[in-house]
Symmetry: C2
Subunit: 247 residues, 2 copies
């Protein structure tokens, strides 16, 4: 009785799809039909359809109708978490070691990485993230390399990254942004293998992320890179996981 009426309608639709009565491409009842059938206002019927559309279950075409979406679990999502949160959630302790934290000047190779002209100042950091389990056993779980736009985070060099992760600090400084990221399986360079404390030839999961923001100049809106991060995880022990729930 307490479940909202739009939830009842959503479940009704999902049940029909799961039973195979409505197949991908089929039209589902219109807002008006559902409103009449469930004796609710059109706005309530609409909410059920809207939420199922956002979940990828349905597709809507203005003027034409609402249809069962073609494929659902095809394109799905992997969650990328903050490393400290992830470790804490396992009930373990997160330790960080700052290997390097300095100001640098862009060379040719770095120009594209951070989107600043050659000769610009930027901040560079290397941090080793360690997971300590309940018995005190320590393991290097991530080596993080970061190229940071010094205009966006002018106080980056003054932070204590054993207390706050660079990721958490940057998100507090520049809260809204766009990001591109990707993962690869690689063999890490020897110096990174040493930092991760893994034998030569161990495959690593390399996660790269570029974060953007928009300059708020009154006249023009300019997109620029806030930071470029490269995160190395020792494989095959490290899993980047996700959970997908349809609807």
């Amino acid at each position: 009785m307490n479940t909202p009426r739009f939830e009842v309608i959503k479940k009704h639709i999902i049940a029909y799809i799961e039973q195979g009565d409505w197949r991908p491409g089929d039209a589902v009842p219109s807002e008006n039909q559902l409103a009449e059938q469930f004796e609710v206002s059109r706005m309530t019927a609409r909410r059920a359809l809207t939420e199922l559309t956002e979940a990828g279950v349905l597709e809507r075409v203005q003027g034409a109708g609402t249809f069962v979406a073609e494929q659902l679990p095809t394109g799905s999502l992997l969650e990328i978490r903050n490393i400290a949160d992830e470790i804490h959630e396992r009930g373990h302790k997160h330790l960080a070691e700052v290997i390097c934290l300095e100001q640098r000047t862009t060379t040719d190779a770095e120009e594209k990485l951070i989107g600043l002209p050659v000769g610009s100042v930027y901040f560079y950091s290397q941090v080793k993230h360690i997971e300590e389990d309940t018995r005190g056993k320590q393991e290097v779980i991530q080596f993080e390399e970061r190229y940071v736009n010094s205009v966006v985070a002018p106080h980056y060099l003054e932070q204590d990254f054993t207390q706050i992760t660079p990721s958490a600090y940057l998100s507090s400084v520049s809260p809204l942004s766009q990001a591109d990221h990707w993962v690869e399986a690689i063999l890490a360079p020897a110096e990174i293998e040493a930092l991760l404390e893994i034998p030569t030839g161990t495959p690593c999961l390399k996660l790269s992320r570029r974060t953007y923001s928009y300059q708020q100049n009154p006249t023009k809106k300019q997109k620029f890179i806030v930071n470029f991060a490269v995160l190395y995880h020792p494989g095959p022990g490290y899993r980047l996981g996700g959970h997908l729930i349809a609807s």
Copy 2:
């Protein structure tokens, strides 16, 4: 003029957050305040707040108010795509080679993978996915191993997986589901290295995915595994990418 009023309100809120006037944890104006300020109904102001909440920009607490979310780019998402779609989007051709497609009986080791008791029948397939570029150059881009619940997909063995990918076929048979998935960097077993046509010791991106469904028995609802897939990609050439847009 043509932009919807709730969009105007969303942009207004985002601008304040980006400028740093409203910081994470701060309260934003209530539905009633926004409704009055923008001279819209409460439902329209509400829509702006609701959509920004769904995007992770705001957080709402019933009775208390709406607040700027604490961290945004921290937990973000990697998209997992259908391999054929991904190749076609690059303007290349997707070819598939079926290495193995047969009925098997669960042994101890496989029992947990597919969630069926030892001695049950299941379907097993191995498919090699090849990308052919515009000059006709071919490259193995994925080796796919799949354990499929024969009850859910009784006609699995009759499919031509050079024409439809197993993933696309299964999603047409069991359209709504839950899934868990994760990626690891590994060294592949020698036989898989051979199938991927890569030198020994090349790191691979291993993507595992378990798909669930719910049995529609009239009396009880039982969760069971639809299929378990293991996808191997040759690294470091292969990238699993994503794009995140805040708001």
